[in-house]
Symmetry: D2
Subunit: 233 residues, 4 copies
């Protein structure tokens, strides 16, 4: 029985948010100082801003998301620099550690030699079992080594070096709508996009949840983003 | 009787805000996932973050300010790049234009040859009158030229070239608490600061109003900023 | 006879540069540690980076441009935040001041009521003369007011408020190739672009010179930018 | 006999650089357009810029460093957002993998219960051996799991999840002098600093090499940085 908690899904939630579709329209209208008061005209304006590449009004809507995912997903995520991060340090980790392993939906194998791994297949039962076995074995081994070192008095910041990239981490990100849309355009695959991107599955899991929170919070901006081939304004 | 509205004070207001002192503490505590629930301990943590230069938790508190000021103040303000701006375009200006002129508090003359103008004096009545006369004369002349060109069918974007830097502009800025504190450390003179800065009077007028909104909204962070010699975390 | 120097063209030069097309390819190949040594393969890689939206390798090529232009162009230019600026302060201005006025190529009038001024016309001789007269009159008047105030002992930082937006300024900008391409996609009108932009004529004058320096320095990246509808990588 | 190459030291080199101390002075002097031509006056100016917190001239000097280090150091490094990164992807890793393990200089144990691990001790021979054994065991195990999965046809991007944080990575970073100095102020411990920081040993190893390249390339700026208590301009 492992000391680790194995998960196949990230946890993402919207913690707080400033502004909505109306805010985008208001910031774009700062020149006249008038709110339109008319949702239909606001919507038209937001759409035009995206088409005309006037991105700055979208920066006035700000989100904070809370994300629990693996370290290797966090590595890709934190490459997005127009954002503010607070991340849990492994130096102060408490409680039962979480490990992310491939779930049943995860494509495991190359789908026929495509150089960039764009074509992939689910893998057969043997492959799936093997992955499961190796992840558990590697993670339990690493965790045991880590624990042994701690018990001998070794510093956490030293011992953590043996922990694998699939170990969980936890961070909160505050970013504006323009930066979020850029993230979504890169980290969610949508064949209908102007230039479809090919993110890794695990970060796409995170991105899809974020996308849902955005679609709910700023439906007009989101619909315009989609109508424009998922191009960042 | 001038077609222009002359002002000596900027107008600044806090439009909206996400988060407060508690948010700073919560983001810093993401590692443990626990809220302290205890304002006193939150305050202690916020103070320590500033002393230890852990600035990122302060980035999760976000403000939007609305600013009406002169173009030359806006020029200095917009040099602060960690911020999002929507600014009124002179291309779409409507209503009676606003002009910013030196008010009675403004030091007008050099206080005895100090190279950087740090030493200044109020100026005598003659000097004060002269400034008043010249600002009105230059602004009215420019505005007349501008109007003449518009009446002849010249594009606003061409004609505006004659308008002076003291003409008013209007912008909205969304920025995080860390960026705001950096702005305040540079744009407000405080002799008790670790390294007192020497901002121009007009941007300091704006900055002082912003400072008051921050002090009200995040009193603990603000007090820690002050206690640390106004150093940005 | 005016004390001012009137110009119709900005002055822009490339001061220094780090890297070239080969650098972009090398940074993209950091994963394998091998330089290809083969310009043709480098070119193919650079093209693919733009198509696939891998923008970061372009950030390792850096330019410094020196720009002399009007204050209102500088205002638009400095809105680009992924860049480092050093700008001359009017507080320390020396020598004969430069003023930017519309040249013979400048479209002066609206081409028939288009709301956004996208349709424009050259203007007739009367209009052209009027513009010339008003710019000279407004600038000479402002400059005289400025000089009068200085002679009376008023601080430069106060007196400069009367100077018009067409007065010249001088700045140096250090920015990476990705940021430069984004600037060019917004500030140069090209009907063949994926989404043609509609910059104001005066900033486009500046941007076209910058574009020429980029085309010379990184011809492969530039050609790929063009082939991709002037989309920023 | 391990398939892995174990290292105790990072590898860092300066790949290229734009500008030097003279550049900082020139950018600061853009207002007058004159080069001083006099190194002594340049030096005085650079010192004053740091004291007076005029940081932007330092942004015109740009470096590219090449860094080979562990993934956990890279994680801390890439939190610095005012920088451009190209990082090797584990998806395309080739050759014998590198692993970073604690060397003989590394303090391994807590020096007596200090909460933040600031007080540390070298550890005795038993502890040192234990760390060595655990790192080798955990890394060899993980690498074997990784290899087994690859041989079964599993995608590299899946299999890499088992690799530990002490595995090596390779990246190139392009950043300006101001951003580098900020990094050094946080990532190198110097008791003589105004506010001494307490970086983790492994990132400090990297930072010290970077510091040496900076001290050589911009000796005047570096000396001013030191004289000002290692405060970022």
């Amino acid at each position: 029985m492992s000391d680790l908690e194995f998960r196949t899904e990230p946890r993402v939630q919207l913690l707080c948010c400033m502004g909505d579709d109306r805010t985008v329209a208001q910031r774009a209208r700062v020149s006249t100082g008038r709110e339109s008061g008319d949702p239909a005209r606001d919507a038209g304006l937001v759409r035009r801003l995206i088409t005309d590449r006037h991105g700055s009004p979208f920066e006035h809507v700000v989100f904070t998301h809370d994300v629990e995912t693996s370290i290797f997903v966090a590595r890709e995520f934190l490459r997005h620099r127009i954002a503010s991060y607070s991340e849990a340090s492994l130096r102060y980790m408490e409680g039962k550690p979480v490990v992310y392993v491939p779930g049943p939906e995860r494509q495991l194998v190359s789908g026929g030699g495509a150089q960039m791994n764009y074509g992939t297949g689910p893998g057969d039962d043997n492959q799936r079992n093997q992955v499961d076995v190796e992840f558990h074995w590697a993670c339990d081994t690493a965790w045991e080594s880590y624990q042994v070192m701690l018990r001998r008095g070794v510093l956490r910041e030293v011992a953590r070096g043996v922990l694998p990239l699939c170990f969980g981490t936890h961070f909160q990100v505050t970013w504006n709508l323009r930066s979020v849309l850029n993230f979504l355009s890169l980290r969610v695959h949508d064949p209908s996009a102007d230039r479809p991107s090919h993110p890794q599955y695990e970060i796409e899991q995170v991105a899809r949840i974020i996308e849902a929170t955005v679609a709910r919070r700023v439906p007009v901006a989101y619909e315009s983003f989609m109508a424009n081939g998922r191009r960042t304004p």
